[in-house]
């Protein structure tokens, strides 16, 4: 301990600035990683606890998606041999009147549920009877909090185009039901949501000794198409799958920040080793072994790692708390509705992040540490031997091999829904690119002409002859700038693709819908007739949306039944890739979104079976369309066919083309005057476009913030290493002054060195960044979110970033140079560090 204290004390006394920066780098990385992991943990745990708390002691859960199934199935299940208890549920994400919020309305049979979910009634058994009353709800504690509603008040929900008032009979204790939900009687739910005779969930408890998997298979045979039986664990999986790709992406960003921190440690330690070459040599002469020197450097780095990681853990915890409070568990991405997570401090995860921080700090110092030990003391004690660090790593092969590996890894598909190979590919490209830099820079510098201008010639000569220290700065520039470029290209591509997509999917003049919050609102067919009869409306297409589940382990898919005209198809769906030419014996067409095509492997021309109206019907995949809205996939059918198969004539949205001369305002007024029209939401395409883009930006807000932080760390690293190089060459400047160079000339020389380095780094970073962006666009994003997008290069932004970086390098070199050349030449030459 005391030895560490002495080492650190010596170090902090002299180099506190650079050391603090290294600590800050590690701290930022650890903080981001730890915060993301805390938030995920809180959200996923809460989501899982919500699923578990609603399922209670159920062994199996039968789910029928949004459209559900006939209650006769419940009777059949309740009487099924091996089933000990069955509890019927009708649940829906109900839109709240006034506003865009929703609440999970869960209709249960309290008497049946008491055997399955005893926690709901444990504190007050009389609640079972209270819950039988017509038109009452009990709110979960989280829902009561969020809506600021309590017993005696009304919960106003939207059903169709009506508002239903339910009396809040009480609030459940937080221990009884996790998450935000309102419990009501199953009969009330059936009546008020206009779903008489239907259920969409039955929880089953099996008789003791019955094999759960065997039962699941037997029960599956009973179920109509689109209704699935799963274990509670499977339901939790599908909840976690909702956001897994998003969470992994955030984790990778945190890892980038952590690695950047490690890189800072590397550059700091490399310069430290160079600076203290003499000191180390002296220690060797005094009897310290080689391993001792290595250990000394590593211990210093580890100490930085411990300090940084500990700071990072505290910072991360605070960050997570603030994020949960202000942005919610999904960080604004809208994935965890109805979840109210609580923050915990998981010791295991904290230790893991602490260890990662220390390991990365020590790893960053490994190369300098080995170098320090390798140097022969006698040689090191002489001045002017500081350029060895990169001397051995200038080969072409390792870097080229890693770049090739990166290209190969980008070809693989996702692993369990995570683009693991994509991330590995990026890592290979990044490290490979950096390893190539010494070779590349020497090749480039060798081709530059030497001019008669002394400062420039000296700068070039210095870089050609002594590349070691410069390489550290160059690597810092390339690493941070290439990531910056890659992110900028990726986000610009996505945003411009979304903009184009919005233009393509919003061809009409006016859009009308019921409140889109929740799934309990709909338009009756009579309204459809009335809308079509309005003189202002030339043409109207209606859309019915629902959800189907094709795989119990995946979140449900949106099913959209649309009024389609042959020429309209291309207009309302931005079709991508090949499309299927219909043949005579083909079943009806279905258009699948890219996500469905990716996740379920559907290709144009393929015949698929889709559960519509409780039965499987054959369809042919007519085409694949781009959809940025529904990450888990969407399938479009012709509405006429949907009505024929289900008898469901209701709709949710309408797209209106106005008659020549009709104004949007006028039409909106006419629509409002229709019966039920006052609850319609209407918007012109421009408005929807703006809202959607704002939503897009909000979703990516945290991603942007994390990127900005990583880039900032990189920039700090760059300027600190340039400054350090300059300061370490004070003796050289003294000598140059003796030889007759002016201070201004030396400053120019330093600026030229910094500028040349930055120019090289920026050029290489642009190329490497563009390569990485290809992987981000075509591999990582595609596999994480199943979004296809067109590559879009933000030239202006890239040019600006390049100038910023070069300017910063020039500025740093100039400012440090002024400081270094400020002292008298004689003192500078004599100085012994």
């Amino acid at each position: 301990m005391w030895r560490l204290a002495i080492v650190l004390n010596a170090r902090f006394a002299h180099q506190w600035g650079r050391t603090a920066l290294s600590i800050a780098g590690i701290a930022l990385g650890v903080a981001l990683g730890f915060a993301v992991s805390l938030i995920n943990r809180a959200a996923v745990e809460e989501l899982g606890a919500g699923v578990r708390s609603l399922a209670g002691e159920a062994d199996l859960v039968v789910r029928g998606g949004r459209s559900g199934f006939d209650e006769a199935l419940y009777v059949q299940l309740a009487k099924f041999d091996g089933v000990a208890a069955a509890s019927p549920v009708l649940e829906a994400e109900a839109g709240l009147a006034a506003g865009e919020r929703t609440i999970r309305l869960v209709g249960i049979d309290a008497l049946r549920a008491a055997r399955m979910q005893p926690a709901l009634f444990a504190d007050d058994p009389a609640r079972r009877i209270e819950l039988l009353r017509p038109d009452v709800v009990f709110l979960s504690a989280a829902a009561s909090d969020r809506l600021a509603l309590g017993a005696g008040e009304k919960l106003r929900i939207v059903a169709g185009l009506d508002i239903v008032e339910l009396e809040i009979a009480g609030v459940l204790p937080a221990s009884a039901l996790r998450g935000a939900a309102a419990l009501t009687d199953v009969a009330t739910a059936q009546w008020r949501l206009d779903r008489i005779g239907q259920l969409n969930r039955v929880d089953l408890r099996l008789a003791p000794g019955v094999d759960r998997e065997a039962m699941r298979t037997r029960i599956a045979l009973l179920l109509p198409a689109g209704t699935l039986v799963s274990t509670v664990e499977m339901a939790e999986d599908s909840g976690a799958a909702l956001s897994r790709a998003y969470r992994v992406n955030l984790n990778v960003l945190a890892l980038v920040a952590l690695l950047t921190g490690g890189f800072l440690v590397f550059s700091a330690q490399a310069l430290e080793v160079t600076r203290r070459r003499g000191e180390h040599a002296l220690l060797r002469v005094l009897g310290l072994e080689r391993r001792g020197v290595t250990r000394l450097v590593l211990v210093e780095a580890a100490a930085i790692g411990v300090l940084g990681s500990a700071t990072g853990l505290a910072l991360g915890y605070a960050l997570a708390g603030a994020a949960l409070r202000f942005a919610g568990a999904d960080l604004g991405a809208g994935m965890f509705r109805g979840v109210a997570p609580a923050l915990s401090f998981p010791a295991g995860s904290a230790i893991a992040y602490l260890a990662a921080g220390v390991a990365i700090a020590a790893g960053g110092a490994l190369l300098p540490a080995l170098d320090a030990a390798r140097t022969a003391p006698a040689q090191a004690l002489k001045a002017g031997d500081e350029q060895r660090l990169f001397a051995r790593a200038t080969g072409l092969r390792p870097g080229a091999a890693l770049l090739a590996a990166g290209a190969v890894l980008a070809q693989f598909g996702p692993l369990d829904g995570i683009p693991l190979f994509g991330y590995l590919s990026i890592a290979c490209l990044l490290v490979g690119g950096i390893l190539l830099m010494p070779w590349l820079s020497q090749a480039a510098l060798a081709r530059l002409p030497l001019t008669a201008r002394v400062p420039y010639a000296l700068a070039l000569a210095q870089l050609r002859a002594a590349p070691g220290q410069a390489m550290v700065s160059l690597a810092a520039i390339v690493a941070s700038f290439s990531l910056m470029v890659a992110m900028a290209i990726m986000v610009a591509s996505l945003r411009s693709s979304v903009e184009q997509w919005l233009d393509a999917v919003l061809p009409a003049d006016l859009y009308v819908r019921t409140t889109h919050a929740g799934e309990t609102a709909w338009l009756e067919p009579e309204l459809e007739v009335r809308v079509k009869a309005l003189p202002q409306v030339q043409r109207a297409e209606f859309l019915r949306s629902g959800r189907i589940t094709l795989d119990a382990r995946r979140p449900p898919i949106a099913l959209m039944a649309r009024d389609l005209t042959r020429e309209g198809t291309a207009l309302v769906f931005p079709l991508v890739g090949a499309r299927h030419q219909r043949r005579r014996d083909d079943p009806p067409p279905a258009w699948v979104s890219e996500a469905v095509a990716d996740l379920y492997g559907y290709a144009p021309g393929e015949r698929i079976a889709l559960p519509v109206g409780g039965r499987n019907h054959p369809f042919v995949v007519a085409g694949v369309w781009r959809d940025y809205l529904r990450q888990h996939g969407a399938i479009v059918l012709e509405r006429a066919l949907y009505v024929e198969l289900t008898g469901d004539r209701r709709s949710n949205d309408a797209t209106l083309w106005l008659a020549p001369g009709a104004s949007v305002a006028d039409t909106m007024q006419a629509l409002r005057a229709l019966p039920g029209g006052e609850l319609l939401e209407m918007a012109a395409p421009g408005e929807i476009r703006d809202i959607s883009l704002r939503l897009f930006d909000r979703t990516f807000a945290v991603t942007y913030a994390l990127e900005a932080v990583a880039v900032l760390v990189g920039l700090f690293g760059l300027s600190s290493s340039v400054a350090a190089i300059v300061l370490s060459r004070r003796r050289e400047f003294g000598m140059l002054r003796h030889l007759g160079m002016t201070r201004a000339q030396i400053n120019s020389m330093l600026a030229a060195e910094g500028g040349l380095l930055a120019l090289l780094g920026v050029a290489a970073g642009l190329v490497l960044g563009a390569l990485i962006s290809l992987v981000l666009v075509y591999v990582v994003n595609r596999q994480s979110f199943n979004w296809g997008m067109e590559l879009h290069l933000p030239y202006g932004l890239l040019a600006g970033l390049s100038l910023l970086l070069i300017g910063l390098a020039l500025l740093t070199a100039y400012v440090s140079g002024r400081e270094a050349t400020g002292m008298a030449p004689v003192r500078a030459v004599k100085e012994d560090w």
């Binding site: 209650e71 009777v75 008497l111 009877i129 017509p134 038109d135 009330t188 059936q190 009546w191 008489i196």
Partner: protein, 350 residues
């Protein structure tokens, strides 16, 4: 008060239920009155008895189906609207086990999974059932830690309680129930106590009672006893207790061995606690040994075992004592039956 506020708040949507009053001189008519009377607030079929196994081990049993009509209604057309609720208790008193094996069920009458016929006794809740077929009651149920299947032969006509089945329960008119009993049912069947099915036989007693105002507002609970006397007769006696534990109202019927029926006035019935037992689980104290007087005769009731407490909070929402008892006269067994002690935990709410 809370309920009234609540009903006022949603008055337009909820229709308050009006239960029919229990009137004297209605009389009972069978088989119709064996069936359910869903318009009344509450109703039960209460089957209790003594069984013995092949090795002559004594066992007490209880199978009860309750029907309740909630005090609210609405225009909800759902087939699952909770207009009728069924609850069931089953218990087995086994001195070797030392406390009751018991289980309970609750469900709304819906979709055929639970129901009660209005034609004759036929009431079921999932796979628990009790039905009168011909002259025989049959009951079958699988509880958590025992199962029971019995056939009960009724050779006597129903014993009408009170005035031709109009049984007063309080001092005000209308505080009454319709009530008849089927004592001396010859029981035969099988019991499984977790180690295989064993044949049993014995004698049982069925009460069928329905009402809208069974309890006077002052009443907190009741003591009830039904004894099959060794001489072939039967005794039913009850008292409603007020919140201080004093008798608020009482009644009873003695069926003589020759079929002579004597109805007692409230003043002729007395229950005197002789020994109390405190439940280790709930801390509730019950007078498990009683001296019952009906007219000029008295019986000492001695429980088959002390711990016959039944925690029914998960169904009917109460805790009570319902147990097999012997009736002694001058130290000799003069009959066997069941004693029910309610309202000792908290006042009973129906």
């Amino acid at each position: 008060m809370r309920r009234r506020e609540f009903l006022a708040a949603i008055g337009a949507m909820t229709l308050e239920v009006r239960y029919p009053a229990v009137e004297p001189r209605r009389g009972l008519s069978f088989p119709r009155d064996h069936g359910a009377h869903p318009e009344y607030r509450s109703e039960w079929w209460y089957l209790t008895g003594w069984l013995h196994t092949a090795r002559s081990e004594p066992l007490g049993f209880q199978v009860t189906f309750f029907r309740a009509r909630p005090p609210f209604d609405s225009a909800n057309p759902s087939r699952q609207a909770p207009r009728q609720i069924l609850l069931a208790h089953a218990a087995l008193a086994d001195p070797v086990f030392g406390r009751l094996r018991h289980d309970q069920r609750a469900a709304r009458v819906a979709l055929g999974l639970a129901g009660a016929s209005e034609e004759t006794t036929a009431v079921w809740l999932d796979d628990w059932r009790l039905a009168l077929e011909g002259g025989r009651y049959r009951t079958r149920l699988a509880a958590r830690d025992f199962s029971l299947e019995l056939e009960l032969e009724a050779s006597d006509p129903p014993l009408e309680q009170g005035e031709a089945g109009y049984s007063r329960k309080g001092r005000r008119a209308g505080e009454a129930s319709y009530y008849y009993s089927r004592p001396r049912l010859a029981a035969r069947g099988a019991v499984d106590r977790g180690n295989g099915s064993e044949p049993v036989s014995g004698s049982a007693w069925l009460d069928h009672e329905w009402s809208s105002t069974l309890m006077a507002p002052e009443a907190a609970g009741w003591d009830w006893v039904g004894i099959e006397l060794a001489d072939g007769g039967a005794l039913m006696a009850f008292r409603m207790r007020d919140r201080q534990g004093a008798a608020h109202y009482a009644g009873g019927t003695l069926l003589g061995a020759q079929g002579h029926r004597r109805v007692f006035a409230p003043g002729e019935i007395a229950f005197e606690p002789r020994r109390r037992w405190r439940s280790p689980r709930t801390g509730v104290e019950y007078p498990v040994a009683m001296r019952v007087t009906a007219g000029s005769e008295s019986w000492e009731l001695a429980p088959l075992m002390d711990d016959q407490e039944l925690d029914a909070r998960a169904s009917t929402g109460t805790i009570y004592w319902e147990g097999a008892v012997r009736a002694l006269q001058r130290g000799r067994e003069a009959g066997r039956g069941y004693l029910e002690l309610t309202g000792y935990w908290k006042p009973v709410r129906l």
